[in-house]
């Protein structure tokens, strides 16, 4: 979000490392509505799923810049917010002028509510989301830019009729002459541009409310990200088998007195143990950007959730090393449920610092994962299953899980990876400390 003149831009967020554009599905607010920090104000469709997007500042919706149904690149201004004038202050001001500090420079306060818009938008400018509002700069030809600069004209005020909505010299001439976009010359051989093109109308069935993402779009998105990972990241893989007997025994004991919905899942212990180990080994936790590793201050776990329609989404568990296993368990249930319903929010998809994939439900023994760029490691857990296991010189049947690590060799070496994976195993051996 960028701020200027007291207004705040609400932009298309990047809901994942691979997201380049999104479709504005639905606005939950309209101009004039007050919004507060954390409020869900729009529904955005990525290639992966429909996401509710929150706003992170308090204010009043000044202008909706992108209509429902429009697909725009990440970073495009979706709406502008103006600061909310506290309702108690404005009316009180005339009544209590003495409260104004004497040093304060005399400020011109707009007397009428709402305050004037910070930027006056020329009413003639058509909203062409794909072209003009997508880019902060106006598309215009070099000739037009040169002439406009000479004439001292702001191109933003001129509707463009050229290729891709660009302002071309004919548009500039019309603006200089103060005529509308239908001169005799234009009518002769040019279909008149629609006064306000409705981009949604051009699209095939407008996406209504929540819908499952297109399988193709998600596939493409996964393909792009995984290809990038295998191309850029030199993976190394480690594996260890962990006896989770003590952890499961502790779990059974704790769950005995709990409601079904509150019961701890084994995966919560696995995640907590991983998060604690990751906070100890920062070279497993963070992002590799611009040729170096940036360790993350906390562990934000990404937990891939497979969708029935195919593909997957990766909601996060933030600051997982600091959550109690019970809080972590609740958070996990919540995001997994909402991921499957297609009701994730933008904040659920903030960039994870370490991903943990759990294919145990499918019965596989081990998963050697592909790291999600720009992360530097991925931890995998297979199924917890009873297998023969030697312990203290005796062969017994124990519940075992195979934990694997795929890590980025640019950031860490096998030695560090081994220490990390061993730390996960040691944490699980002491479940009461999790």
């Amino acid at each position: 979000m960028s701020e200027g003149n007291g207004s705040t831009d609400f932009c298309m967020p990047a809901l994942g490392a691979d997201m380049e554009k999104g479709t504005l599905l639905e606005w939950y607010v309209k101009p004039g509505d007050p919004v507060h920090r954390g409020q869900v104000i729009a529904d955005v469709d990525t290639e992966k799923s429909a996401i509710e997007v929150e706003v992170w500042t308090d204010g009043i919706v000044d202008e909706i810049c992108v209509p429902e149904g429009a697909e725009v690149p990440v970073g495009t201004v979706l709406a502008r917010l103006r600061p909310a004038v506290p309702s108690a202050v404005a009316p009180a001001a005339p009544a209590a002028p003495a409260k104004v500090p004497p040093q304060a420079a005399p400020r011109v306060q707009p007397k009428v509510q709402p305050p004037a818009r910070p930027r006056v938008q020329p009413p003639t400018r058509p909203a062409v989301p794909g072209a003009m509002s997508a880019a902060p700069r106006v598309r215009s030809s070099p000739l037009v830019r040169r002439r406009a600069a000479q004439a001292g004209i702001d191109l933003a005020a001129i509707p463009g009729t050229g290729p891709g909505g660009a302002v071309v010299s004919a548009d500039l001439e019309r603006a200089l002459a103060g005529t509308h976009p239908q001169s005799a010359h234009q009518q002769a051989h040019q279909p008149a541009p629609e006064p306000v093109p409705e981009p949604a109308a051009e699209r095939t069935p407008r996406p209504r409310a929540r819908r499952s993402p297109t399988a193709d779009g998600m596939r493409e998105s996964i393909a792009r990200l995984m290809t990038r990972s295998k191309r850029e990241i030199p993976h190394y893989y480690l594996s260890t088998t962990i006896d989770v007997g003590p952890a499961l025994a502790w779990l059974r004991e704790r769950n005995a007195g709990l409601e079904v919905t509150e019961r701890l899942l084994p995966v919560a212990l696995l995640l907590k143990a991983t998060a604690l180990a990751a906070s100890e080994y920062p070279d497993m936790n963070g992002h590799y950007v611009d040729g170096r590793h940036h360790p993350a201050p906390t562990v934000r776990l990404g937990v891939p959730v497979a969708l029935r329609s195919g593909g997957l989404v990766t909601p996060i568990v933030d600051a997982a090393e600091q959550l109690s296993v019970f809080d972590l368990n609740r958070r996990l249930r919540d995001v997994a449920t909402r991921a499957r319903q297609g009701a994730l929010r933008a904040s659920d998809l903030a960039e994870p610092t370490l991903s943990v994939t759990n294919l145990g439900d499918q019965g596989v023994e081990a998963v050697f994962g592909v790291i999600y760029p720009p992360q530097v490691a991925l931890v995998g857990f297979g199924a917890v299953s009873e297998r023969p296991w030697a312990h203290d010189g005796l062969l017994g049947v124990r519940p075992l899980v195979t934990a694997t690590l795929a890590a980025d060799h640019r950031v860490s070496d096998g030695h560090r990876g081994g220490l990390f994976l061993t730390a996960v195993a040691e944490r699980l051996a002491h479940p009461e400390e999790l």
């Binding site: 070099p142 000739l143 040169r146 009729t161 290729p163 660009a166 010359h185 051989h189």
Partner: protein
Amino acid sequence: MTAPATAVRCTYREAIRAALREALLADERVFLLGEDVGPYGGGHGVSLGLYEEFGPERIRDAPLSENGFTGAGIGAALGGMRPIVEIMTVNFSLLALDQIVNNAATLLHMTGGQLSVPLVIRMTTGGGRQLAAQHSHSLEGWYAHIPGIRVLAPATVADARGMLAAALADPDPVVIFEHGGLYNVEGELPADAGAVDIERAAIRRAGTDVTVIAYGGTVPTALAAADVLAAEGVEAEVVDLRTLRPLDDATLLGSVIRTHHAVVVDEGWSSVGLAAEVSARIAEQAFYDLDAPVARVSTLDVPIPYPRHLEQAALPSVDRIVAAARATVGSS
């Protein structure tokens, strides 16, 4: 100057033959060398009758060895002759690239100006006649890439008649591309037609809205497209490059600066081609006068197909030029 004699109608082929005949009569150092140029009259019938008139010493049949006879032409030029080498198609000229690029184009420079190579090479170029991929390509751009040679592309009967004499007068190697689709095109020619300028591009049709830049076989296509555009109220100016190396920047940029829109037509492939070079010059030197991106209409990036409908689809057409011009002026 005498008063012009009555104009005559003749074909592009006849105009070249007249130019050859004039050159052979005017200068005894001039001779024609190439495959089947003698009694057979040339692969495209250009030299028909010259063998009978000038004899085997001056109309010399060459073996099917392009590099060999082109090299012989270079040797003769170095020895004081004024040879005209005919290569049947530009595709076959690739066999002579070594002599043309490594010898003809370089000797003046490598001898510090002591040896010039006054050689003229004529060759047929272009598609549209169902001769398939090995006889139909347009590789003018390859030659226009080479410093040390001048490259000409006559598009009109007058240029077919006049460029040869100008090329022979040039002390350095000149390559002339005759478009195979133009040989039967007829045009008016003054009876006393002679050498023409080979420095400048020509404006074949004046217009105000968009500049269509073409050369050789695409000039008539561009003019036909301009007629279609005129009926829609778009006035296209058609520039005939004529000389592909060195390019006449002043004429083509002057036109673009007037119309602010450019469509470059090239029968070569678009990737890394002549149209790309022309587009780059416009972008470099006329950027602030452009009102739309430069458009290119080139041959599709495929070997020229044999079937007629596919061949026509691959080559620049009136429809494609019209569509590109419409899009660039915003009247599509």
